[in-house]
């Protein structure tokens, strides 16, 4: 237990901050994923074949290629890509991207592909009559989307989004390869300096179990809230 003491003597406070970092990365990645889903879901549902192709390419590649490979792509290619864009605007200095941004962005892109599929499925399973009824009532396009379609989409999507959240949360462990100090990286460092890997990786496992358990409880509440009326 001494190893987990807070302060200079133990790794308790380090692991605590690392846990906060994991939560921060996971939430940021999930939000970035929603942003991607917001762009690609309409493309998936569009009648234009070319737009369909773009969205399908995105989801197929991300869901068929290992997360680790995607992370390596952004880790090694990220700053080169940003420097390339910057050089177009005449900025030639070296730019280093922070590990948090690289990590959150790569996990976000992955999470976005899953979210896109969830939203597509949810919107497609809404009864056609709902769209027609909204038209008949003379609602504006925004009113139709925000008052009729979105609430029903959310209700259908939340159980599946909770799966996406669990996947995203667990995927954040992979960003340890970029050097960002989240749970896995901190356990790796602690295991290296104390030579007690079994203890620290077990701590990491317990922390992840705690996070998945906690989020399951919170999501169940959210589900109850949105399933009102059923």
């Amino acid at each position: 237990m001494e190893l987990l003491a807070f302060g200079d003597t133990g790794w308790g406070d380090e692991l605590f901050y690392a846990t906060l970092m994991t939560i921060a990365v996971a939430i940021t990645a999930m939000l970035i994923g929603f942003f991607f889903a917001l762009i690609f879901t309409p493309l998936k549902l569009s009648k234009n074949k070319f737009l369909n192709l773009i969205a399908n390419t995105y989801t197929t590649i991300i869901r068929g290629v290992p997360e680790l490979l995607v992370i390596y792509l952004f880790f090694f290619g990220g700053s080169a890509a940003v420097m390339f864009v910057a050089s177009i605007f005449g900025y030639g200095e070296y730019i280093e991207i922070n590990a948090f941004i690289t990590g959150a962005f790569s996990i976000g892109i992955i999470s976005g592909a899953y979210s896109t599929e969830v939203f597509r499925g949810a919107i497609q399973s809404i009864d056609k009559g709902q769209f027609e009824a909204a038209n008949v009532l003379g609602l504006s396009k925004f009113g139709k989307f925000f008052k009729i379609i979105l609430p029903q989409t959310l209700r259908l999507a939340i159980p599946n989004l909770s799966n996406v959240w669990q996947i995203t949360l667990k995927d954040t462990s992979l960003i340890m390869v970029t050097g960002l100090v989240e749970i896995m990286r901190q356990s790796y460092v602690a295991a290296g300096s104390t030579r007690d890997p079994l203890f620290f990786y077990s701590c990491a496992a317990v922390l992840y179990l705690f996070l998945t358990f906690l989020s399951m409880k919170l999501i169940n509440r959210l589900e109850l809230k949105y399933s009102k009326g059923y």
């Binding site: 068929g64 490979l69 792509l73 667990k170 896995m184 030579r195 077990s202």
Partner: protein, 223 residues
């Protein structure tokens, strides 16, 4: 775009994907047995066995695969006592550790898939078997298992693809699988996009094959 690098790295990546396939097939086979075992335990009326199987699946589905590999490879290998036993022969090899971790992980997911498949079998089918005077053991092997396999094919196909992606984590315990070699080439040439296209293409091809084999099986066993 460095086409030459892409052409040169292709054979290296292709031979590395052999390790990926070996890891995948070994863990799927072992994982299927573990999954079947724990699915049966879950359906058992004995509360202790039931809880044990639930705990197993909760533990392995609630933690990242990376933690599981690290615990088995770095953690267990660090226990002095284990080093003196026969187990050390297995635990000192990253290859076997990766297979153990993947098997236990996919076993947990497979047990959930099979459990829900068994639970969706209509009781009428089992009753029909009983009324024909078939032994309950034979009902299980000849009626319940084939139906459960058919029911779980789509979900199991997903699990195979997730596991294929999961094998990339073997590169974190020094194994040179497809991702491991890809990372090595990227870090020596600093050409991430080219290598990503080739390695990603190989992964996509494998996913494509798995997807279509499952689709074919689904059609073949549909009723």
């Amino acid at each position: 775009m460095d086409i030459e690098l892409m052409v040169n790295s292709f054979p290296k990546l292709l031979s590395a994907s052999l390790i990926t396939l070996k890891l995948l097939s070994a863990s799927l086979i072992v994982g299927l047995f573990i999954g079947l075992l724990f699915a049966i335990l879950r359906l058992n009326k004995n509360i202790f066995m039931n809880k044990f199987a639930y705990g197993y699946s909760y533990l392995f589905r609630g933690t990242p695969l990376l933690v599981q590999i690290f615990i088995i490879y770095y953690g267990l290998g660090n226990i002095e006592y284990l080093r003196t036993t026969v187990l050390w022969v297995i635990l000192k090899e990253p290859y076997w550790c990766a297979i153990i971790a993947f098997s236990l992980n996919t076993g947990a997911y497979t047990s959930e898939i099979l459990r829900s498949a068994f639970q969706t079998i209509k009781p009428g089918i089992i009753e029909a078997g009983k009324s024909l005077g078939i032994q309950s053991k034979i009902i299980f092997y000849k009626i319940q298992i084939p139906i459960a396999i058919r029911q779980s094919l789509p979900a199991y196909g997903n699990e195979i693809i997730l596991m294929l992606k999961g094998t990339s984590l073997a590169s974190t315990v020094t194994l040179m699988d497809l991702t491991g070699v890809a990372k090595y080439i990227i870090s020596t040439t600093f050409k991430p996009i080219e290598v990503f296209i080739v390695a990603g293409g190989i992964y996509l091809f494998m996913t494509f094959v798995v997807h279509n084999v499952i689709k074919f099986l689904e059609k073949k066993y549909s009723y």
